[in-house]
Symmetry: C2
């Protein structure tokens, strides 16, 4: 508790970390932009729609709306809108949760599954291409290190 005046002074260390953060952000945006572009042009869909369908595909029994927003790290109100649109298009359906009339499960329709599988295969190939310069071992090391970081951010977030 009560951090000792958590210095706001700039040090070589904090500069190095800031630089890392800016790189992380830059690379992520660049890749997101490429994926967005490809999804729009080749599958007439958007990144948020794809993200929702992807999360639902990993959970065939469906996810509660709040679980969905938790997984995607976006707000509750946000997923409401995206699921609305996907529902209109017949790709996703809302299912009542027995025993809790407040809750709703979102899950892929049969058509949603078919559509998603087509998108997902290409998506994976695009990523594979974008990271081609990095061999699988290095990718694994990177991913593991980021995983540790993510876990730390997660637990720290809860405490705060």
């Amino acid at each position: 508790m009560n951090a000792p005046a958590e210095s706001t002074r700039s040090t070589p260390q904090s500069k190095a970390r800031l630089r890392l953060w800016l790189r992380l952000l830059g690379v992520t945006r660049k890749i997101e932009n490429e994926l967005r572009d490809k999804l729009r042009r080749e599958h007439d869909t958007t990144l948020p729609r794809f993200d929702v369908m992807s999360a639902l595909h990993r959970h065939p029994d469906g996810l509660r709306m709040s679980e969905l927003s938790g997984v995607l790290k976006v707000s509750n109100g946000n997923v409401t809108g995206i699921v609305d649109r996907l529902t209109e298009e017949g790709l996703v359906e809302r299912v009542a949760v027995p025993g809790d009339r407040r809750a709703m499960m979102a899950r892929l329709t049969e058509r949603g599954q078919t559509v998603f599988i087509g998108q997902a295969a290409e998506h994976e190939a695009w990523i594979d291409g974008l990271f081609a310069e990095m061999d699988a071992d290095e990718a694994r090391i990177f991913a593991n290190r980021l995983g540790e970081l993510a876990e730390l951010l997660e637990t720290r977030g809860e405490t705060q």
Copy 2:
């Protein structure tokens, strides 16, 4: 040219790279959310506003609107709106570019600089805290590797 049927098959390699991408995305979102929250609560501003001011601070003579959107990796129309609002608040000003009446430079006002400096010091300290688990050397290695990746994505993007 003409990649040999650029396979859409899923391999252990592509899985590893996909996993890396998802981690990258997850960590970036998590950090963005924390920063957004802190900027809102402690400086009554938003991440996009901060990003624009940050870019302008790194270029004291100002940036053309198109350079600004290029640096931030967002669309032209996007920065128009953000600069509009920052201008209304007296933090940024548009300056005509001598010799090209189509172009506009955006730059921080004196007040914008003062305000930004206050935000930036804390921002750097927040990042420092979020990446505390990672020592400076590791941060440098990570940043360099991401830099190589970014460069590759950049050059590849142009060709495509």
